[in-house]
């Protein structure tokens, strides 16, 4: 249903008035701290992807045979990993918090408070990290 522009125009009314249309400035994401953090959050995808590609290479190199196998250990690589870790932590923090606030369950017909869900997300993160770290380190002794 629209506001119909019909009816007799008696006065020398101007044709449909011009509006000034909105154009999004290209640098919009720098104009507000939240927008910037959002952009960083989305950008984490890139470093994380690169690091996983490295992992793929690391796996592939296991096919090189015992003599030629040499894991990466350059300073540059460590620095790269530190940077990636910062992004990874930011991704985990934002993703789990946000996912926690949108998940909704009911237990005994009562909604589970979002805080609790977020907390359990972080608990799951901690648990997964401990298990993975354990496997990665423990089996190194064999």
């Amino acid at each position: 249903m629209t506001t119909e522009a019909t009816a007799e125009a008696t006065t020398e009314a101007p044709a449909a008035p011009r509006e000034y249309s909105w154009r999004m400035p290209a640098n919009w994401w720098t104009r507000n701290r939240h927008y910037f953090l959002y952009t960083v959050r989305e950008f984490t995808a890139l470093p994380l992807a690169l690091w996983l590609l490295w992992l793929l290479v690391e796996i592939r190199r296991a096919g090189d045979g015992p003599a030629r196998y040499a894991p990466h250990s350059s300073t540059a690589f460590v620095v790269f990993s530190v940077v990636v870790l910062a992004f990874a932590l930011y991704h985990s923090y934002t993703f789990l918090t946000l996912a926690g606030t949108i998940l909704h369950f009911k237990v005994l017909d009562r909604p589970v408070p979002a805080r609790l869900i977020v907390l359990s997300q972080f608990a799951a993160w901690a648990a997964a990290s401990v298990v993975v770290a354990f496997v990665l380190i423990w089996f190194a002794h064999e």
């Binding site: 952009t39 950008f43 592939r60 870790l85 985990s92």
Partner: protein
């Protein structure tokens, strides 16, 4: 009157890619930091022993089918997440073309390629 009647259909492709994005995001959030920390920092610096530091341990772990499955999940799923985010990031930076079907083919296709490569590598490297 002036209302443009748009065909309204549930966009199933969007739904699927969002689902993959969400799954990948969870996997990435739960698992990636610890791998980066242990394999990317602690291991190379020699602070703790890590499986991939020695050929023997690395191979014996990679030979385990469960590990292979785990690594597939760890690597493939997040790529759907990354593809989705980077595509939208391009949109945010004023490249609406990133929404087009060809762009979708490139981004999600890329994730599919990474998945296939991962499967290939996992199957061919240290076969079970």
């Amino acid at each position: 009157m002036s209302e443009a009647v748009k065909p309204q259909r549930l966009a199933l492709m969007h739904l699927f890619w969002w689902f993959m994005f969400a799954q990948g995001g969870v996997i990435a959030a739960l698992l990636i930091p610890v791998h980066v920390l242990v394999q990317g920092i602690l291991g190379p610096l020699g602070i703790v022993p890590v499986v991939d530091r020695h050929y023997d341990t690395w191979v014996s772990v990679l030979g385990n089918p469960l590990v292979k499955l785990y690594l597939l999940v760890l690597i493939a799923f997040p790529f759907f997440h990354f593809a989705h985010r980077l595509r939208y990031l391009l949109v945010d930076f004023g490249v609406p073309a990133a929404k087009s079907v060809p762009a979708q083919v490139v981004f999600y296709g890329g994730a599919v390629v990474v998945t296939l490569v991962t499967v290939y590598i996992l199957l061919t490297t240290v076969p079970i």
